[in-house]
């Protein structure tokens, strides 16, 4: 049997879903979507849908995990069983445990954990529908939820994945591009401070390609950052003054 390779970029330079190489998928963001959490957010990027909830700072249970000089951060990245084509077992996989860790480390660099010793901040990220870029969408949802909970932080996090498909660098890859592409590089930043909080690379990029990818990511991140700010502002703008 002969496999025919899927063409990911056509002769006009357009991608499989009709986007230009430097174009993001449609974005939707909303904060305060859950009543019982201290802070929450919902992020949609194309077909990727993520929900995040934040609790805390609160008392640590079990007690022995407490740190005397700072708050601990506990993060759970989880994909619901119906988030993928084929049912995913709800038990945390090796991948989910790893992503929980890298997301936690990214968030730790943003939150002022030393302000609240002996407490915990719990972040729950649920991927409702997966179409690549779930860790970046999850990070954005988590940072919006943290801001919504009123936890002091350096900056919001905006994140995007860069891919290399058919030899071209593309912004915000989807599932097909992720599966058949040559490289996948998620990048998360604090845009106001220009600091990178997460960078992973799966695949091979040359040095020039790497720097070009970084530049492309910054462009996408700047746009996503604006969406994030709008989402947070919307909560206050929508409160209408009731005239009597």
């Amino acid at each position: 049997m002969r496999y025919e390779k899927i063409k990911l970029v056509d002769e006009n330079g357009l991608r499989i879903d009709g986007r230009k190489p430097d174009q993001l998928r449609p974005v939707k963001m909303e904060v305060s979507v859950l009543k019982n959490a201290d802070g929450s957010a919902y992020v949609e990027q194309g077909n990727t849908r993520v929900l995040a909830a934040v609790y805390g700072p609160r008392e640590v249970h079990p007690k022995h995990l407490t740190l005397p000089d700072r708050a601990i951060l506990r993060t759970r990245y989880h994909m619901v069983p119906y988030s993928t084509d084929e049912r995913k077992s709800p038990a945390p996989t090796r991948r989910e445990i790893e992503l929980s860790k890298v997301i936690r480390e990214a968030l730790e660099s943003v939150i002022f954990v030393e302000l609240y010793p002996r407490t915990t901040i719990d972040v729950f990220i649920e991927v409702i529908q997966a179409d690549a870029g779930t860790r970046t969408a999850g990070l954005m949802a988590a940072s919006l939820a943290l801001a919504d909970a009123g936890i002091p932080m350096k900056d919001l996090i905006a994140a995007v994945a860069i891919g290399k498909v058919d030899g071209t660098l593309v912004l915000d890859i989807n599932q097909v591009e992720d599966e058949y592409g040559e490289a996948d590089m998620p990048i998360a930043m604090m845009p106001s401070l220009g600091e990178i909080v997460l960078l992973q690379l799966n695949g091979v990029l040359s040095e020039e390609e790497f720097y070009e990818a970084l530049k492309l990511a910054q462009k996408g991140i700047a746009q996503l950052y604006e969406f994030e700010k709008q989402a947070l502002m919307k909560k206050y703008v929508e409160v209408k003054v009731e005239e009597v």
């Binding site: 002091p152 350096k154 919001l156 502002m233």
Partner: protein, 238 residues
């Protein structure tokens, strides 16, 4: 121009607020500094005084204990010689038995539940807190102690300053208009005692309105009109 934001502007985490050395910034968790640059760390409202004094009041958030704060706590557990009290902060507070009972207390004979039981509310003051140990409460003082009548409303703790208003202007207006006795716990619990349940109801609605519209200016007048209207609807005012 060193300050880059206006008075009463909504700011977001990571937003650059001011630059330069001649800016006076109140030391608080809502602002942080890198070199000469000041950034906001929360969603908040700016407060700019005389074009050089800058602070940010958080719009979202939890209560963080401070010594001498008056709070309303709920008893969640009784021990042998102390109560554990929930004050809606990251830390649970402690209320010692010796503080509540005037006579010497014998844990063998006496049961603390007779005095304050789980679910009871107390108006208390924080007398000790340093982040390394849980806050300690006292009920010794004027008006402090167990809450036995009235109603409690909960609001987002960071919006308490707005409910109080500048030098108490807002809360005094609400008290006067609704004829209710109102005690504010800085942890976002507010205790209302009114002449009738209807008065209390109007006071609750007014406080909820203040909480909801914290960030929109001209609030005091709007709330005043609101209370009068609501009282009229209920036949309590002309």
């Amino acid at each position: 121009m060193p300050i880059l934001v206006q008075h009463r502007q909504i700011v977001l985490p990571g937003q650059l607020l001011a630059e330069g050395k001649d800016v006076e910034v109140k030391a608080q968790h809502t602002i942080y500094r890198i070199g000469d640059k000041y950034y906001s760390s929360v969603i908040g409202l700016t407060d700019v005084q005389n074009g050089k004094r800058l602070s940010v009041i958080a719009l979202e958030g939890f209560y963080f204990p401070k010594v001498d704060d008056i709070v309303i706590g709920m008893i969640i557990d009784t021990g042998l010689t102390s109560w554990t009290v929930d004050i809606r902060s990251p830390y649970l507070a402690i209320l010692h038995a010796s503080d509540v009972l005037s006579k010497p207390f014998n844990p063998l004979k006496d049961n603390l539940r007779k005095h304050l039981d789980i679910g009871d509310l107390v108006l208390a003051k924080i007398i000790q807190f340093d982040r390394t140990r849980s806050p300690v409460l006292t009920v010794k003082g004027k008006g402090l102690g167990k809450i036995t009548k009235g109603v409690i409303v909960e609001i987002i703790p960071s919006r308490v300053p707005r409910v109080i208003g500048r030098k108490g202007s807002m809360i005094n207006m609400v008290k006067e208009e609704t004829k209710c006795q109102i005690t504010i716990g800085l942890n976002g619990r507010i205790w209302i005692i009114g002449p009738t349940l209807t008065h209390e109801e109007v006071a609750i609605l007014a406080i909820k309105k203040i909480e909801r519209e914290t960030h929109i200016s001209g609030l005091t007048d709007r709330v005043k009109a609101f209370i009068r209207e609501e009282l009229k609807k209920r036949g309590l005012a002309k």
